[in-house]
């Protein structure tokens, strides 16, 4: 029950019937999170999972931790208040593309810029699932849905670019079906101090099936994805026969058949203090580039809760613990005596 005993995946499962559609990518994410939490050395009661609204946001009900299923888009705001009030807690947010990038966009960017010590898992299925299939802020332009029968005219957000642009200190991407990679990414997020933003491509087999099949199908996977591993050159492709290099201010795919080799590729480093290269890499994808997965950015910055608590500690040290009597009796005072005189 408590932290002194070793926890297992089972300790994080609830008795609640899981209500996602059979085949939904959310199951895989749940399984990965339940597998990683016990490894983190944190007593179960110190985990809190906070969510907004949407399919992804049912997540807390299935995690046997403290949980708060809040309202649409507001999970980062609720989590910020919780983390500031209780820095001792491990606060994880489960959210979706609509929840985080549409109705909750404001809270997301402000949590990221403040560097609140919470982990944000954004399940991106590029569709509104719970409301039965409208285009989302990550749906591709031209997407035909019930609310866009002639194709969406919206330009989509690139979630990683938004996060990097907002000053996020940890930005990563993984995919529901790549269990090992997903767990590795979750571990990296857990180890980060400050906000960790993880975009997880998630298949909604009901309203947007195979949205990521071009990345996940066995035959295409190696050509379509590039794994970002710090210290290693950005090599990809079935026979690891291609790579990414930086040419001037542009990225470019190079083929080793053309005389290039791994040494010509950009060596990945998620700790670059300048976010420009991470931003360029975040933009990579079809049709000209492979899609990057892994950790794009990981930098150290003071956290919001440390700053908030630190001010209280410093002020208390400077002035001593506030004296209410003195506080109320501050300013210009006068006394009315029993005999009516004033002093």
């Amino acid at each position: 029950m408590s932290g002194s005993t070793t926890l297992s995946k089972k300790d994080f499962q609830t008795d609640q019937e899981v209500r996602w559609c059979p085949g939904c990518g959310d199951y895989a994410i749940l399984s990965a999170v339940q597998a990683v939490f016990p490894e983190l050395g944190v007593p179960r009661e110190r985990f809190v999972v906070v969510s907004g609204i949407g399919c992804s946001s049912r997540f807390p009900y299935y995690m046997n931790t403290f949980g708060f299923h809040t309202i649409h888009g507001r999970a980062p705001a609720v989590a910020t208040g919780l983390k500031v009030a209780r820095p001792d807690l491990e606060v994880w947010i489960a959210t979706g593309d609509g929840d985080a990038l549409s109705i909750g966009g404001n809270h997301l960017i402000h949590a990221l810029r403040r560097n609140v010590g919470v982990k944000i898992l954004m399940f991106n299925n590029r569709i509104y699932g719970l409301t039965k299939g409208q285009y989302s802020p990550t749906s591709e332009a031209g997407k035909r849905t019930k609310s866009s029968p002639f194709g969406s005219v919206d330009h989509p957000f690139n979630a990683l670019s938004v996060a990097i642009g907002a000053g996020a200190t940890f930005v990563a991407r993984s995919i529901d079906v790549l269990q090992a990679h997903l767990k590795e990414t979750l571990r990296a997020a857990a180890a980060h101090r400050g906000t960790a933003f993880v975009e997880i491509y998630q298949n909604c087999n009901i309203f947007n099936d195979k949205a990521f099949a071009h990345l996940t199908e066995k035959e295409v996977r190696d050509d379509a994805l590039v794994h970002l591993e710090t210290g290693k050159p950005m090599v990809f492709g079935k026979g690891r026969d291609r790579g990414i290099r930086l040419k001037g201010t542009e990225l470019e795919v190079i083929r080793f058949a053309d005389g290039f080799g791994p040494d010509d590729c950009l060596v990945w480093d998620d700790r670059r203090s300048n976010p420009a290269i991470a931003f360029m890499v975040a933009q990579m994808g079809r049709p000209d580039f492979p899609t990057p997965i892994g950790v794009l950015r990981r930098v150290d910055k003071s956290t919001f809760e440390t700053g908030m608590v630190g001010q209280i500690e410093r002020e208390t040290e400077k002035r001593g613990v506030g004296n209410l009597q003195q506080l109320i009796h501050s300013g210009d005072l006068w006394t009315v005596h029993e005999d009516g005189t004033i002093s």
């Binding site: 179960r44 009661e45 299923h69």
Partner: protein
């Protein structure tokens, strides 16, 4: 009202008449940049220190710097000082200080006939007259004959007094409000020392500025003393206030102090989530200073984040507060309902202002009552309290926090712009007499379920993350009573809707019964709520002195109402309800008690005048004779 007295003159160089007043209203009016708020506050603090009862009404424009000299740029501060217990900043000023033509134009209509009018003639030049919409100078066309007019070139005299100060012309110009203050101090026989102390403290780092303002003030005082313009000095003796230690306090400060006191009495750290909004920002400013009291202030990215963060902090075990004004409360509605649904304690402070929409941000109104009670989707019961005076904000802040944690519910505390910015003498409470309500969190996993209920209050346990064995999930979905598991069961839903309502209704059991001031039954009851208390009290007292059969009662609890309210209403033939909206309390009373009441609305962005209420009382009673 005037008692001529003969008194030996202290410190004056010539013999002047002395006149004792029991009550005087002074309004300082000028351009927003003229420092009228400081001038008025200083006059107020000094008057408080010599023991007058007082009430203030600052009135300033929504624009930070409206174009100088224009009508929208006029800023005013009204203070009423008295030698007896008063309740309002007064209706018509007895004295008006007008720093420019625009200030004269905006405020002259309020000055009582034969009132003292001091104008700064330096500003009465063609350009400024035109900006204020005067075709001819009112100083010359006889239009001010009904007043005792004193024409003083304030800027010129200030310049002369500061000739060798070494300050530039602009800095010198900025001292003229202290010249006016010096005049007011002479005229009303106040000491200048408290303001000298204020200046030394405020401009500690820039002694030349402190010195210039002090010199301007003394020059104003001397000007009155030496010139023959003023033949009379006035005195207002100390009021007979209840024994105790006093300070002058605004509603914003009292509210902040009340929240900190509640934090101490509950044993919980205070967390405030807020987004800047007029007139609620002062509460954020006040609390932001108090970090050494363990206060966390979170300036959020928007109103929604402010309340959501407070809810998150409450989940974590903090005494959570979010503060705003009407437009912000509108944005908070959905999150407020989340707090209703998950039954977490939260205090929402709404400092009401004129509306709808952006409305009159710096003006006062009481039109959020129905919104506070009903402005959320579905059945959403929560307690609503309303402070009656600036000092009452202290007590009600504590009461709001106490109810929130005892009943595990969000509470709305209503104040308004008039209470927040207005001030009155506050008899300081003895700390050990304040309500004590130490909070006990649930710790034992034995038989724990998140929505099990206290049989008396129906409150659920407050079980904090971090407590082993109490892991549980809460959320906005309907839940099974007891277990808290998500439930779509129809019967359970109705049970929960009724239960949430019953929990709030039960608060009436511990609300003090409504007290009637005056005869407990009879012809007329004036029933008010919120900041109208002062005007109503003043009017009812006067009416009674005139022999009118009228009683008074004031609601601080708007939901639930005190348990005896229906019975009190039934004891009176008629009930008059003055309020700064179109009759929202009247609507509630009639709906709830099926008792016809006489609604007396005023929606002008200004508080009621005592005489408006008095005349209404006279009319209501006159009609029956």
């Amino acid at each position: 009202m005037k008692l001529p007295i003969v008194d030996s003159e202290q410190g004056s160089s010539r013999a002047v008449d002395r006149e004792r007043l029991d009550d005087v209203v002074i309004r300082f009016a000028g351009d927003s940049g003229d420092g009228m708020q400081v001038t008025g506050s200083q006059f107020t603090s000094t008057s408080a220190l010599i023991g007058n009862d007082l009430a203030t009404f600052p009135d300033f424009p929504a624009e930070i710097r409206a174009p100088a000299g224009t009508l929208p740029g006029v800023s005013a501060f009204q203070v009423r000082i008295a030698d007896y217990d008063i309740h309002t900043p007064g209706d018509a000023p007895d004295v008006l200080v007008a720093m420019n033509p625009a200030a004269l134009k905006v405020n002259l209509g309020d000055l009582r006939p034969n009132g003292i009018l001091i104008v700064n003639t330096d500003e009465f030049v063609e350009r400024n007259l035109k900006k204020a919409g005067y075709e001819r100078s009112p100083l010359e066309d006889g239009s001010l004959d009904a007043y005792r007019l004193f024409q003083v070139p304030l800027a010129t005299l200030t310049r002369r007094a500061l000739e060798d100060s070494g300050l530039d012309a602009k800095a010198v110009e900025r001292c003229k409000n202290f010249f006016a203050l010096g005049m007011a101090y002479w005229l009303f026989s106040r000491p200048i020392e408290p303001t000298l102390r204020f200046l030394a403290k405020k401009f500690g780092a820039r002694p030349e500025i402190a010195d210039a303002n002090a010199r301007a003030m003394k020059a104003g005082w001397n000007f009155c003393d030496i010139t023959e313009a003023f033949q009379t000095r006035y005195e207002v003796m100390p009021a007979k206030l209840a024994p105790g230690v006093y300070r002058n306090v605004t509603g914003s400060t009292a509210l902040a102090l009340g929240l900190v006191a509640a934090s101490r009495r509950s044993g919980l750290p205070l967390f405030q989530g807020a987004y800047p909004i007029t007139p609620a920002s002062d509460l954020l400013h006040e609390l932001a200073q108090l970090k050494s009291f363990g206060v966390t202030t979170f300036q959020a990215e928007d109103e929604i984040a402010a309340i959501c963060a407070a809810i998150g902090a409450s989940f974590g075990g903090a005494l959570a507060v979010t503060s705003t004004s009407g437009p912000g409360l509108a944005l908070k509605s959905e999150a407020l309902n989340l707090a209703v649904m998950v039954e977490l304690p939260l205090v929402v402070v709404d400092i009401q202002r004129g509306g709808p929409s952006t409305g009159l941000p710096t003006k006062t109104e009481q039109a959020d009552l129905l919104f506070a009670l009903y402005g959320r989707n579905n059945e959403s019961p929560l307690p609503v309290l309303a402070a009656a005076s600036p000092a009452d904000c202290f007590d009600l802040a504590i009461e709001a926090c106490r109810l929130a944690v005892r009943y595990m519910t969000p509470v709305i505390l209503l104040s308004d712009g008039y209470l927040a910015n207005g001030s009155e003498p506050w008899r300081l409470p003895e700390l050990d007499r304040l309500p004590d309500f130490p909070v006990e969190f649930r710790t034992s996993p034995e038989g724990f379920a998140p929505f099990l209920r206290d049989p008396e209050t129906l409150a659920r346990p407050w079980a904090l993350p971090g407590t082993a064995g109490l892991e549980h999930r809460i959320g906005g979905l309907e839940k099974q009573d007891g277990s808290g598991n998500v439930s779509y069961d129809p019967a359970n839903h109705e049970h929960m809707v009724r239960l949430r309502a019953e929990k709030i209704a039960r608060i009436a059991r511990e609300i003090p019964p409504l007290e009637v001031d005056g005869e407990p039954a009879g012809e007329l009851l004036v029933l008010g709520w919120g900041s109208t208390a002062g005007a109503i009290t003043g009017a009812v007292n006067l009416a009674r002195r005139q022999g009118l059969p009228v009683s008074r009662a004031h609601l601080r609890h708007l939901n639930p109402f005190p348990a005896n309210l229906g019975e009190v209403l039934a004891r009176f033939e008629r009930v008059l309800v003055p309020e700064m909206n179109l009759g929202q309390l009247a609507f509630l009373l009639q709906g709830r008690f099926l008792k016809p009441v006489i609604s007396f609305p005023k929606v002008q962005g200004k508080p009621f005048f005592r005489n408006e209420v008095l005349e209404k009382i006279q009319a209501v009673l006159g009609g029956s004779r």
